[in-house]
């Protein structure tokens, strides 16, 4: 009796499960509590509920139809681009789709990567945690006013019609993958997508109450730090899991990820100290950290350490300016993007995606070629392949336009049936009106007691 079929390598399967769990922790509890702590007290419960429920909604869609749309056989919906932008929907429920060997039809063993050495359920789960974190990221843009009942269908439709396309185009072997576009772990598929979607959604749904915008003050920065810490270390799975093998590239991606993040965090602190404010802050450090993590994401295993340092540095400086200088101006002021996701994920993801077109080092090897198959490795402009920058720009533009337009359409359609915004009373009262709960329930609960009805029944029984 043996534990596994011969194609299964326990080391790779172990790492993939571990990496997926780390990414899952970034969402639950990571982002949930980061949001719960950074918003005002009145929105803490609502923010966390949206995170927990959004995570659950994605998994149900993912298993029933969406995974196959992102990573399955292409749906030939027409000529050219239309034939390779999304996969055919299908469920992952049966014993074979869970325990059979993992497979992405357009990629596995096609000279782009070796065959997988773990089962399909592992691939499905690993890709799920990525699909699930994306709505949780753009949730940051629309905290404090979106109707909970519109949120659940929004997540379902967006995952179905937008995320699957993003994923298929770049990771499932679709159009941009064929063109050679690089996105190691989702600078585009996830972060640029979240920044774009969040921004459009914030515009369509409308701003928070004037009062809530004016008096924004985090209720608990200890929880923000806790969530932020889970993001940082969880990112070891985010970028370390994407080679799909526990190989040398995975380790290099982890080191590069941390390096770019450390540089971006320190850069942000230095910018803060040199600004007119002359003070660095924890929220600033967290911003810098996130920018580093996001910007290195499309590049982690394609660049060497020097590239990682430059990506962290450049992205941090640019996003520092965009947060501190642009967020007062023009469209960035008009649209109420609650946590500024368009900056820290959208712009940072785009910068990272473009920079990989410069810094990709062909000597960084993702997989080793055998015989005549060359190594899987990629060159950017600085290593003699200027075309890569254009490809990266094209892929980025596709995501921005497609995700922006689709988000607009989906929300307008949902709005026909379910109000996108809370009622006025809910906007005023927050969690109590929405969920009949308060985050620190006890403080104002001096003198809480059972309502007469339940009290009565309890008294009668003498219990």
């Amino acid at each position: 009796m043996v534990p596994d079929p011969s194609w299964l390598h326990a080391g790779d399967n172990a790492w993939q499960l571990t990496a997926a769990t780390l990414v899952g922790l970034m969402s639950i509890p990571g982002l949930a509590i980061l949001y719960g702590g950074i918003v005002q007290k009145k929105w803490a419960i609502n923010s966390m509920m949206m995170a927990f429920s959004g995570f659950a909604v994605v998994l149900v869609c993912w298993v029933l139809w969406a995974f196959d749309m992102g990573f399955g056989h292409p749906a030939h919906l027409g000529p050219g681009f239309l034939s390779s932008f999304v996969g055919q929907p299908g469920a992952v429920l049966g014993h074979l789709s869970e325990q059979g060997r993992a497979n992405i039809p357009l990629l596995s063993g096609k000279g782009l990567m070796p065959k997988f050495q773990f089962p399909q359920s592992d691939l499905v789960y690993f890709q799920f945690v990525f699909a699930a974190i994306t709505p949780l990221l753009f949730l940051g843009s629309i905290l404090g006013r979106m109707n909970f009942k519109a949120w659940l269908p929004f997540v379902a439709l967006w995952t179905t019609f937008v995320y699957t396309v993003n994923a298929f185009l770049l990771w499932g072997g679709g159009y941009w993958a064929q063109k050679g576009a690089l996105d190691f772990s989702g600078g585009y598929v996830i972060h640029l997508a979240a920044g774009t979607t969040g921004f459009v959604a914030a515009a369509v749904i409308g701003p928070r109450l004037r009062k809530d915008r004016d008096t924004f003050a985090p209720n608990n920065l200890l929880m923000v730090a806790t969530g932020a810490g889970l993001l940082w270390l969880g990112w070891n799975g985010f970028n370390g899991g994407d080679p799909y093998f526990a190989n040398a590239n995975a380790s290099a991606a982890v080191l590069n990820t941390n390096l770019a993040t450390a540089v971006a965090l320190l850069t942000w602190i230095i910018c803060d100290l040199m600004s007119s404010r002359r003070k660095s802050s924890l929220l600033g450090s967290v911003n810098g950290m996130i920018v580093g993590l996001v910007a290195i994401t499309p590049a982690a295993g394609f660049v060497n350490g020097t590239g990682a340092i430059f990506i962290g540095l450049i992205a941090s400086v640019i996003v520092w300016f965009s947060v501190n200088k642009l967020s007062h101006r023009g469209i960035f002021k008009k649209v109420d993007d609650t946590l500024g996701v368009v900056h820290t994920h959208g712009i940072a993801g785009l910068i990272g995606g473009i920079l990989v077109g410069f810094f990709a080092d062909p000597r960084m090897v993702e997989y080793l070629g055998v015989g005549k198959t060359p190594n899987a490795s990629y060159a950017g402009l600085l290593y003699g392949h200027p075309g890569q920058v254009l490809i990266q720009l094209g892929a980025g533009a596709t995501i921005i336009v497609f995700d922006g337009v689709m988000t607009f359409i989906i929300l307008k359609l949902i709005g026909l049936v379910i109000p996108l915004r809370m009622t006025d009373e809910e906007l005023q009262e927050g969690d109590l009106a929405l969920h009949a709960e308060e985050v620190y329930a006890e403080a104002p609960a001096i003198g809480a007691r059972l309502t007469s009805s339940s009290l009565e029944s309890r008294t009668r029984s003498g219990a």
């Binding site: 009062k211 005023q428 308060e438 104002p444 609960a445 001096i446 003198g447 007691r449 339940s454």
Partner: protein, 112 residues
């Protein structure tokens, strides 16, 4: 001098304060409190049992003012804090015998 104490709905604080400032009021002190009155508290659910919270959050404002200003201060608070819904709160006025500004040791009117 009089001490004016007002118990209001928390989200009205900014409006009340801004209008008092416009009236020339230079200082006031606020604290968080819980009110019990006609306005009902909310209900929380835990393991299927419903709990009613009798108290609702209120802000308590207190400010010492000159005798001649009492009427307009009370009027101003009353107008700015009103929502016409149960629970808007109360204002009461108490005599004050002396006031001191700690920084300077000034007494009475000068201390305001």
């Amino acid at each position: 001098m009089k001490l004016v104490v007002a118990v209001i709905k928390p989200f009205k604080l900014d409006e009340v304060k801004d209008n008092l400032k416009a009236l020339g009021v230079q200082g006031l002190t606020v604290s968080e409190s819980q009110g019990f009155g006609r306005q009902r508290g909310h209900t929380e659910v835990y393991r299927g049992a419903e709990y009613e919270i009798d108290f609702v959050p209120k802000i308590r404002i207190e400010l010492v003012v000159d005798d001649e200003s009492v009427a307009e201060v009370v009027e101003s608070i009353s107008t700015s804090a009103r929502t016409d819904k149960i629970g808007d709160g109360k204002i009461w006025v108490v005599p004050v015998e002396d006031m001191v500004r700690i920084r300077t040791g000034e007494h009475g009117h000068d201390a305001l």
